[in-house]
């Protein structure tokens, strides 16, 4: 059956499939940013972390032959970048936004530099769950070809939500991010907490990078991340700093990203690049809609410098 025969259903299925596929990195980076911001810092360097993760994941997968080893390498590289961000921010009178931008540029450059040898070769990719086996429609089978990392992301969101309420560590992260003075008075180490939160955030962002290079689109190229690490900041605002909301927001952004390719299946190809801009238009629209001259952002951690 050709896609054309499915008509607009085909578009819907393609958007759904795209949403699931494209949302995974969004989910990981938005969770990463949520965790970092909950601890009271903004990490604008996630874009660089994402590319470092993608590059190291791809490289290790290619050299070792194991894509999962690649994911582990990407997580490690991400955590290292998170640590770097945190370590610099721990110095007195250092601004987290400036450090983030520096790491964004540094990470991007370093990933391109170290990743040059991996542009051509094909590394082994991550396996997928073929959940569409019940259907004979190829479009459905393609849409339900889901990466395990998607489920890992959803599990990470659930765990994060649970941990913020039910673990000592979760309470401390929230306290440090909402009122550092109070946390300090209670004897909790502010900088150490932020360091661990930022490093864990970096780890998640690294995994997002591994998804990009090892699953979808599944290759290493410059410009692979297309700004997703930066958009994480918007996603987190829209998700109101709640881990579970990150799932819905990521699916929404994933769906928007899939708009162009989906419409192509019914032959609407003329606006491919214009439609490719959909997530960015959505980002702008959300930023405008969620900001107000009249009131502050609801749910924002009190210690965020952008919120002061």
């Amino acid at each position: 059956m050709s896609p054309g025969e499915l008509g607009w259903w085909g578009v819907a299925i393609a958007i759904l499939g795209g949403a699931i596929r494209v949302s995974t990195p969004y989910l990981f980076v938005s969770l990463a940013e949520t965790l970092t911001e909950k601890s009271g810092r903004v990490n604008l360097g996630l874009e660089g972390t994402l590319l470092m993760g993608a590059m190291s994941g791809y490289g290790v997968s290619y050299l070792s032959g194991s894509p999962w080893l690649g994911v582990a390498a990407a997580a490690g590289a991400g955590a290292a970048f998170g640590l770097l961000h945190a370590a610099v921010c721990n110095l007195p009178r250092v601004n987290d936004v400036a450090v983030g931008i520096a790491l964004f540029i540094f990470g991007t450059g370093l990933a391109f530099f170290l990743g040059k040898p991996f542009v051509q070769p094909q590394a082994p990719r991550l396996p997928t769950f073929e959940l569409g086996g019940f259907s004979s429609v190829p479009a459905i089978r393609a849409a339900l070809d889901v990466s395990p990392l998607f489920f890992a992301g959803i599990a990470a969101a659930l765990i994060m939500r649970w941990a913020f309420v039910n673990t000592r560590w979760g309470l401390i992260v929230r306290a440090v991010g909402d009122n550092a003075e109070a946390a300090r008075a209670a004897g909790y180490p502010v900088n150490l907490t932020r360091t661990l939160a930022t490093a864990t955030g970096g780890l998640l962002a690294g995994i997002a990078g591994a998804f990009l290079s090892l699953s979808y689109p599944g290759t290493w190229a410059e410009g692979l991340s297309s700004g997703q690490g930066l958009m994480a900041v918007t996603l987190v605002i829209f998700a109101r700093w709640r881990a579970l909301n990150c799932i819905w927001v990521s699916l929404l952004f994933g769906g928007a990203s899939a708009l162009g390719p989906a419409l192509q299946t019914v032959g609407v190809a003329g606006y491919y690049y214009l439609l490719g801009a959909a997530p960015y238009v959505l980002t702008l629209a959300l930023l405008i809609a969620s900001s107000s001259r009249r009131h502050r952002l609801v749910g924002a951690p009190g210690e965020l410098s952008i919120n002061r």
């Binding site: 309420v165 309470l171 401390i172 929230r174 909402d178 109070a182 004897g187 009249r294 609801v298």
Partner: protein
């Protein structure tokens, strides 16, 4: 105990003894060294010399954690709650020994049982951000008790509370002391609180002991003399006859939203004539802050008209200058100062771009600004390292004095003041109140918003009560009764009136 900060001798050989199970007040003016003393006790500062004995044993207290372990707990002036967390979460967080995995069911049982033992309670599921100031203060006290504190130090806890709230909180603290559960140390500069609640008092002046003893054995004059020494207290302007001129400020049906976008001021109408003080009473958080911000041009009103001197008032800098509008807003460091600028620059914020401080409207004469700053620093006794000191290095009381110096320039025709004496000591309070009266006697229209009912009863010609963004009661000075106003402040009568 001795402690030196740079060239300031904050503590100069102070000795105090707190008996178990008493309510002990530590009285003194701003800068008398009270806070420094307890910060040494709590391990925030190390004393240069001196010993701390607890139950007769000399103890070293290197950090706050050590103080907690010895059963010392402190409630600070500013809140140390995590706003987005619930009461239960805030209590739990205060404990150092919480398990990695929290068994909320067991913890909740413990917290509920603890709250049931306390003389006052709070909803454990309420987020701290939704609590009123008095409730937050209670949660701070609960937190210390939950930690097992045997000595509770309250650092000017009532500076953010209404009179009713502070009486309630202090009564609870006193009851705990009387029951022998707790030794309470109250740091304050308010004589009323000492007389009403404390059993023992120690007075500090200039970093030294200035007297003390059982409160019952000391009369008011003795306390005042210990606190201020022989120094005369400045300012006692007599209230001139009321010569109410024409209506100067008028608000008609004004509404405004708060920071969260909810209505804060609702359809408020109000008139202030030249030569009168209109006092606005009310518990904080009933829209007073938003009202002042609208008048200051810091917040856009949703609807309504504002006229000054009969003309629509758009709250521009030019209008403020032309119409003589001056403002003493709450939290002056945040609302009326530029933190990173010097004292001199902050004093010049109103007129740095007008002659004689600016030539041709743009070339600023720094020398003239500095000369004027030195003059004002002297006249308003602002304690600072000089006109070039950053304004955020000043203590709260001195920031307040700096803003007062700027805004009470002598040619004010409309003065809007919100809690102008909050956190100031006795002497400064007398002085500021007399300056406000002076402005009125000169013919200025004064809108005075205050949580201190005594202040309003002393100063205002008319008093209106603000509740939930509306004016709910109006009375003339002659007929004003504190209890009736208090009833309206808490909303036992609810009907909108026009003042």
């Amino acid at each position: 105990m001795r402690k030196r900060f740079g060239n300031v001798q904050a503590l100069d050989g102070v000795s105090v003894r707190f008996e178990p199970g008493t309510f002990h007040a530590l009285l003194g003016e701003n800068g008398a060294g009270k806070s420094t003393l307890v910060k040494c006790l709590m391990g925030f500062h190390a004393a240069d010399s001196g010993v701390i004995r607890i139950d007769g044993e000399a103890r070293a207290i290197p950090d706050p954690r050590a103080a907690h372990a010895l059963g010392l707990g402190m409630v600070y002036q500013h809140f140390t709650l995590v706003p987005s967390m619930t009461v239960a979460e805030n209590l739990l967080l205060a404990r150092a020994d919480i398990a990695g995995l929290i068994d909320w069911r067991a913890e909740r049982r413990g917290i509920d049982a603890f709250l049931a033992r306390m003389p006052f309670s709070l909803d454990p599921d309420a987020p701290a951000v939704t609590l009123a100031a008095g409730e937050k203060q209670k949660l701070e006290i609960l937190k210390q008790l939950y930690l097992g504190a045997q000595v509770l130090i309250l650092d000017e806890p009532t500076s953010v509370l209404t009179p009713q709230e502070s009486d309630e909180v202090l009564c609870h603290a006193r009851r705990l002391a009387d029951a022998g559960v707790l030794t309470v140390v109250l740091i304050t500069h308010k004589f009323r609180e000492v007389r009403a609640h404390a059993r023992e008092v120690s007075v500090m002046r200039g970093g030294r002991n200035a007297g003390g003893g059982p409160v019952a054995a000391l009369d008011a004059d003795a306390l005042v003399e210990m606190t201020f020494g022989e120094r005369p207290v400045a300012g006692s302007t007599r209230r001139g006859d009321r010569t109410t001129g024409e209506r100067y400020l008028e608000l008609r049906g004004m509404s405004a939203l708060n920071d969260r976008g909810a209505p804060a001021v609702r359809e408020l109408s109000l008139q202030v004539a030249a030569g009168e003080i209109v006092g606005v009473a009310g518990v904080s958080g009933n829209g007073q802050r938003e009202l002042v911000e609208v008048l200051a041009g810091q917040r856009e009103p949703e609807s309504g008209e504002i006229t000054v001197a009969g003309r629509a008032y758009r709250r521009t800098r030019a209008e403020m200058r032309a119409l003589g509008v001056f403002l003493l807003a709450e939290e002056p460091l945040a609302s009326s100062c530029v933190r990173a600028l010097s004292v001199a620059d902050n004093l010049a914020l109103r007129d740095f771009d007008a002659p004689p401080f600016a030539r041709a409207g743009w070339l600023v004469d720094r020398a003239a600004i500095e000369r004027r700053a030195r003059d004002l620093i002297g006249r308003f006794s602002i304690r600072c390292a000089g006109p070039h000191a950053r304004v955020d290095t000043l203590s709260g009381g001195n920031v307040q004095r700096a803003v007062l110096a700027r805004e009470l320039s002598g040619d004010e025709r409309l003065l809007v003041a919100q809690n102008p004496c909050l956190g100031l000591d006795y002497g400064a309070t007398r002085e500021i109140r007399s300056r406000i009266l002076e402005a009125r006697n000169r013919g200025a229209a004064v809108l005075l918003l205050s949580e201190d009912l005594d202040e309003l009863l002393e100063l205002a010609d008319r008093i209106v009560v603000m509740l939930d963004g509306r004016l709910v009661f109006a009375t003339e000075r002659a007929q004003a009764g504190a209890s009736e106003i208090g009833r309206h402040m808490t909303g036992h009568h609810a009907a909108s009136v026009t003042a």
